[in-house]
Structures are given as structure tokens and as C-alpha cells.
């Protein structure tokens, strides 16, 4: 699945989301649950703000010295007998993985959850080569079985489906006959996947954080699927985007604490796995061969720009979980595998403005995202910065809006003109005014009055009142 998903335009996607009462109910209750859990688990940590500052410091230090830490990571992986490949583009990354699969004469691949491989459309590339690729994260598996339904949430990709819908997917595609209880469905999926784990020739994982000092890949899951995907197949390939790195285990501790709490409100997830290189001589399990693919795919173009902190993202989706826009439109409305506020920031950076120019406007700038981010990415500020580029550099803003803003800029910077205009406002609006409000406004006001009344401009503005008052109290 590429970064951008679906054929529909932004407005159609939004309307589809708004009309999907099922999805909205599911998203709403998920957000509620995750918010409460995150709050409880972060309070328990003590001074959460101090932890966020620490998280931000670690991320910005690492990004500032990314070349150094990537080299260290690469050296350490090689020292432990692993192979490292730096992929400039998605195509290069895919080609490398395809090459390894060919050399191994692989037929089946099991995967644990990885956003960057989604971004690269790695599964498509491998399937084109005739390989069977099985997603083993439950959420990803549901989507894969459901004819590659796109993910709607960074951490919980099938969040838009409730358990009845999930039951139906398995009944339809896999002959599942039991109830829609989570226990039953999960047991069924475990049975299905167990065989795949045992048969697979290659296990592909993502990477939550690579530890530079030891050449370790760490994985955070609640299902243990990453452990099986790395313990059973003879070859392991981990794919990471180039910024997902920490200097030492000490920073890993902080980042994992922030990630688990922010993502799912847990102190730690059920499985935190740290894998270093292939199986050693004295070890009883693990892959015989280990490959680490480090993917750039447009990220180095973000380094050194005003958007650099967007690369601090640890994919916890805390911003998604508090976003009221996301709650109402759902993840598919963003048309990107990265959705919610971070998706609206990242997608134009990785995929350009032309096709994503609406995303930065899909926010009321309420800043709930910025407040929730465990590494303090100023998400709403990035959205404003995108808007500036869209209107002033890319010239993609609508013409009437451009003129309206020009008039506003001129009108509001010339006090006399402004005073005159605001004095006339109530007269100009009189044809649309009933009583003290306007319920069917003209032009751009229509979008407002479709859903709400608008107060009519006051007959006596505040400034008129103030001036009259001063005049009638000459002593003051």
C-alpha cells in the first residue's frame, strides 16, 4: 500500500467519513478509552511535562547528530554479523528485500507491523515476485484479509471496524463460524497464523527504535507476533526509517516509556523485544541471517528545514487520539497511511503539496495534538507553516480566498478604511438580517449560516459607544 491511498478526493473522503455512523461511534469510544488510559499511566510517571521535555531533547539531539548515530548503528550491526543496507528511495529498499528473498528462494514471508514498509508498498513488490506475504499483527491481518482495506490509525490500523464487522470479514473470507467475541476471533486468528509462522522463510519487522551503541532493533507489541516472526524464520529483515534511532539503551528506556504510555496507556506493552544481529553461536534460537534496511525516502530533505521536528515522531498516535477532526471524519479521510494531525503534517512533506493541499486545513488549530505529543512536536504550528507554503509559495490557495485575504490585509492595516468598513457593516448586511441575526448569509457566509445563525453587526459598535461615552463625560 503506498503512502497515499484511495482514489477519491478530499471532500468525498470527508463526506464518506461523516456519513459512517458506525465508524464514528467506534472511533469515538476508542479515543475516549485511550485518552483516559494515557492520562492515568502518564500521571503515574510523575512530572509528565519533564518527561516530555526529556523526550524532545533526546529526539532533537539524535536528529542533530543523525549521521553519526546511523554510522555507529551500521558498524555495530556489521560487527554482530548483520547486513546493513541504506535505501535512498522506497524502490531501492524494495529491490533489496526482493533480492534477499530471491537469494533465499523464499516462498512465504511473515511480517510484523511496520508503517515504513506500508509507505514503500513493500508487500505489493514482494507479491509481484510471487511471494506469499502474511501480516501477523492482528489489526493489519484483518485489513489484509479484507482485500487490503487501508489502515485508518497509525497504531490500531483497523480501528474503523467494530468486532461484528471483523467477524463478518473472517466469516466471508476465511469461513469463520464462531461468535463476534474478541476471544473467539483472536483464537481463530492465532490458529490461522501459527502455521504461517512455522512455514515462513523470512520474517520482516519494522523497528520502533534502533539502539546505535549496540546495533539493536527494538520492537514494541502487545501480541508477541514480532517475537515469533523473528525467532522462527531463518532470515530476518528489519526495515526502519532513518530517524527511528536512539543513541544508547538509556534513551531507549525513556522513549519506550513515553511510547507505551502515549500509544496505549500502558507502562509497558506485553512484549518489548530487543534483537541484536543474527543468532550467536551460543544462542538456541533466532535467525541465521539478519538484514537491516534503513530507509530515507524523502526524510533527509526534511532535515534542516523548519519541519525537522516532524521527524521526532515516534508513531504513538497520541495526537490522533485527541484530535476532534479525526474523531468525526475517521482515518480514511486523510487519504494517507499517516492520518490524524501527524499525517496532515507528514504526508505533504513526503508526498508533496499538489495532491495533499487540503490536509493541513483539516484542523481547527485547537492544538490538542501539540499538547498530547510526548516529544513536543509543535504539530499545529507545522500545519500553519504548511498553509503558508500552500498559499504563498505553491500558490495552491483558492483564488477568492486569496483576494479576500488581500482585502483583509489592506483593510485591517488602514485604520480609517477599517473604521469606515465596520461602520457600514450593519447597513450592508441589513437585507440578510432578521431581528438581531442572519440565518441565510450571502457568499462565503453561506457556509457558516448553513449550520448556524450569525449575529448581525451591531448598530452601535463598541468603539461608537466608547467615543460617545467619552464625549458625554468631558471631565474625564
Amino acid at each position: 500500500m503506498p503512502l497515499r491511498v484511495g482514489e477519491k478526493d478530499f471532500e468525498q473522503r470527508v463526506n464518506t467519513g461523516l456519513e459512517d455512523a458506525f465508524m464514528r461511534g467506534t472511533v469515538r469510544s476508542a479515543q475516549e478509552k485511550l485518552r483516559t488510559r494515557k492520562q492515568a499511566s502518564s500521571e503515574e510517571l510523575g512530572d509528565w511535562e519533564a518527561w516530555r521535555t526529556l523526550g524532545e531533547d533526546i529526539r532533537s539531539h539524535t536528529l542533530e547528530h543523525l549521521d553519526y548515530y546511523l554510522e555507529q548503528l551500521s558498524d555495530k550491526v556489521a560487527e554482530r554479523g548483520g547486513h546493513v543496507y541504506f535505501a535512498k528511495t522506497a524502490e531501492e529498499g524494495n529491490a533489496y528485500v526482493q533480492q534477499v528473498a530471491r537469494e533465499k528462494e523464499a516462498k512465504k514471508i511473515v511480517k510484523s507491523k511496520s508503517m515504513v514498509t506500508e509507505e514503500m508498498s513493500l508487500n505489493d513488490a514482494l507479491e509481484d515476485d510471487g511471494l506469499e506475504v502474511v501480516e501477523t499483527d492482528l489489526g493489519e491481518y484483518i485489513l489484509q484479509v479484507d482485500d487490503h482495506d487501508p489502515p485508518s490509525h497509525i497504531v490500531a490500523p483497523s480501528l474503523h471496524k467494530n468486532r461484528t464487522q471483523i467477524k463478518d470479514v473472517f466469516a466471508d473470507k476465511k469461513g469463520y463460524e464462531e461468535s463476534d467475541h474478541a476471544d473467539d476471533i483472536t483464537r481463530f486468528v492465532r490458529d490461522e497464523l501459527r502455521g504461517d509462522f512455522l512455514d515462513a522463510d523470512i520474517g520482516i519487522t519494522g523497528c520502533n527504535f534502533a539502539v546505535a551503541e549496540s546495533g539493536t532493533v527494538s520492537l514494541v507489541t502487545n501480541e508477541g507476533n514480532a517475537d515469533l516472526a523473528t525467532a522462527l524464520p531463518k532470515t530476518q529483515i528489519s526495515v526502519m526509517s532513518m530517524e527511528r534511532i536512539v543513541p544508547t539503551w538509556e534513551e531507549l528506556d525513556v522513549m519506550v516509556s513515553l511510547l507505551c504510555r502515549s500509544a496505549v496507556g500502558q507502562k509497558l506493552t506485553s512484549y518489548i523485544t530487543a534483537l541484536t544481529g543474527p543468532k550467536g553461536e551460543d544462542e538456541i534460537d533466532g535467525p541465521e541471517e539478519f538484514h537491516l534496511v534503513i530507509v530515507d525516502n524523502g526524510r533527509s530533505d526534511i532535515l534542516g528545514t523548519q519541519f525537522q521536528s516532524a521527524l521526532h515522531c515516534i508513531r504513538c498516535a497520541a495526537c490522533v487520539n485527541v484530535c476532534p477532526v479525526y474523531r468525526h471524519v475517521g482515518g480514511h479521510a486523510y487519504g494517507s497511511i499517516y492520518n490524524g494531525p501527524i499525517g496532515a503534517v507528514l504526508t505533504p512533506l513526503l508526498d508533496g503539496y499538489e495532491d495533499n493541499k487540503d490536509l493541513p486545513y483539516a484542523s481547527s488549530l485547537c492544538a490538542a495534538c501539540t499538547e498530547a505529543c510526548p516529544v513536543k512536536i509543535p504539530l499545529h504550528e507545522h500545519l500553519i507553516a504548511h498553509r503558508q507554503i500552500i498559499t504563498e509559495k505553491e500558490n495552491l490557495g483558492p483564488m477568492p480566498e486569496k483576494w479576500a485575504m488581500k482585502m483583509f490585509g489592506t483593510g485591517a492595516s488602514k485604520p480609517k478604511l477599517y473604521r469606515l468598513g465596520s461602520k457600514q457593516a450593519h447597513r450592508v448586511m441589513r437585507p440578510w438580517t432578521k431581528g438581531s441575526s442572519i440565518s441565510n448569509g450571502p457568499g462565503p457566509l453561506k457556509a457558516w449560516t448553513n449550520a448556524r445563525d450569525m449575529p448581525a453587526p451591531a448598530n452601535e459598535r463598541f468603539r461608537d459607544w466608547f467615543a460617545n461615552r467619552r464625549r458625554s463625560e468631558p471631565d474625564e
Binding site: V14, N15, L18, V322, P324, V325, H328, V329, P360, Y361, A362, S363, S364, L365, C366, A367, A368, T370, E371, I384, H386, R387, Q388, I389, I390, T391, E392, G397, E401, K402, M405, F408, G409, T410, G411, A412, S413, K414, P415, Y418, S422, S437, P444, L445, A447, W448, N450, A451, R452, D453, M454, P455, P457, A458, E460, R461, F462, R463, W465, F466
Partner: protein
């Protein structure tokens, strides 16, 4: 104490009563209030929509309008937060940036000014009613004014304050967002209105004209009996005994 009032564009044109209450309230606590006539709008509509060239012109106008002021007080959290953005907006123009910093250092949102500068928590108001308060996002998250409104409201004699469920959620105003993304904005304001109605309060108190216009406008459309008031009107309210 001399205080210049920044009424804001929405306040001037749509909510003059909130402005009047602000003036009376400030005078009640010994402030001499002036109104620099050259003030217009804070520039936020252009800034938030990405038209920073246009916003810069308006910012400079606002800086000049309040150059002579020692304190600038505004009955709007969002506009007060915008004044704090001027420094970034005017990047590349160090002389204007220096002026922007002076303005932001002397600017306060109304409740913030009462609690932090005047050190007043009880405005002597009385109002026998059941009310709930809408925390506006920019006031809370960008300006970091979190407790002042509640502190002041808690001292109003007779006023029963009811907590607003999901008060952390945006009402869906977002300036041009309400027009550009009208369908999403409508869902957000509907959710907000339903939470407000759940409180059983008679009055919704707000401290930002934008949110009041959005929530109040939706309530009016739905024929809600609830009254929307600006916090200045409540804090300036006295009942005859």
C-alpha cells in the same frame, strides 16, 4: 493604572456589550481605560490561513496602535495568543520583532489581567444562575491561561458553576476552518452543544468571541433556550438586593 483596551474585530462589531462590561469592570478596580482608535484586528484570519504577508501588515498596524500603551487588555484569549505570535510572524524584520516583543510583554487576556496583574479574584459580582464555562483552546493551550476564568467565576455570588463534560474539545470554530471545512466544523459544534446541554445549565459563559459566535449561532439555529454570555458580562453583573 492606565489600560488600553484591545476590543478585537469580533468584539467591536458583534459583541459590544462584552466590551462595555470589560470597561466598567476595569474601571471598578481603579483602571483608567483608553481605546486607541487605530486598532483593527489581530490578523489571525490571514495568519491561520497561511497568508502571512497579509497578516504581517495587520500585525504592524496593531503594534503601532498600541505603541504608547503601558498595558493592553483584551477580552479574547485567542486574540491575546495571536499577539504572542507576532515575534515569529515578523521574522526577518528585527526592528519590528523588537516592537512585537514589547507588545506581547504588556498584553493580557482579561481574566489573566485580573488574577495575575490586578491580583483580584473576586470582582464583587452577583448572579443567581446555573452556568457552565467553555474553555477556549487558544486561551488554554496557546496562552496557558487555565485557571483564571474559573477562579473569578467561582467568586461570583449566587452563581452555580457546572463542569462541562469534554471541556478540552474544540468547539469547531477555528476561524476560517468553520467556513473552509464547514461540514466537519458543524459536527464539532453539534458535539459541543450536546455536551453543554447535558450540564442542565441556563447560561453558557465564554471568553472568546469566536467560540461564542460558533456555539451561540448553532444553539440559536436549534432554538436552544440557553443564553450565551461573555465572562466580562458575568463578572460585571450585580443583582439588586
Amino acid at each position: 493604572m492606565n489600560v488600553s483596551l484591545f476590543i478585537t474585530c469580533l468584539g467591536d462589531m458583534f459583541y459590544p456589550n462584552a466590551g462595555k462590561a470589560t470597561v466598567e469592570l476595569l474601571e471598578k478596580f481603579g483602571c483608567t481605560v483608553d481605546f486607541p482608535e487605530a486598532q483593527t484586528c489581530c490578523g489571525q484570519p490571514a495568519f491561520n490561513s497561511g497568508y502571512h504577508r497579509d497578516a504581517r501588515k495587520v500585525a504592524k498596524q496593531t503594534i503601532e496602535a498600541f505603541q504608547a500603551s503601558s498595558y493592553v487588555v483584551t477580552p479574547s484569549g485567542s486574540c491575546a495568543a495571536m499577539l504572542q505570535e507576532y515575534h515569529h510572524l515578523l521574522e526577518g524584520e528585527p526592528e519590528w520583532q523588537a516592537e512585537a516583543e514589547k507588545l506581547s510583554a504588556k498584553s493580557y487576556e482579561l481574566t489573566q489581567f485580573f488574577v495575575d496583574v490586578l491580583q483580584v479574584e473576586d470582582t464583587g459580582a452577583s448572579f443567581h444562575a446555573k452556568a457552565t464555562y467553555h474553555t477556549s483552546c487558544h486561551m488554554m493551550r496557546l496562552l496557558n491561561v487555565t485557571d483564571a476564568p474559573q477562579t473569578l467565576l467561582n467568586h461570583v455570588d449566587g452563581l452555580e458553576m457546572i463542569d462541562l463534560p469534554r471541556n478540552y474539545d474544540c468547539c469547531g470554530f477555528g476561524g476560517t476552518f468553520a467556513v473552509k471545512m464547514a461540514s466537519i466544523s458543524k459536527e464539532m459544534v453539534d458535539e459541543k452543544v450536546s455536551c453543554i446541554h447535558d450540564t442542565g445549565a441556563d447560561i453558557l459563559i465564554g471568553a472568546d468571541a469566536g467560540c461564542m459566535m460558533n456555539i451561540g449561532g448553532r444553539m440559536e439555529r436549534e432554538d436552544s433556550p440557553m443564553k450565551v454570555m461573555h465572562i466580562a458580562e458575568v463578572l460585571n453583573h450585580t443583582e439588586a438586593r
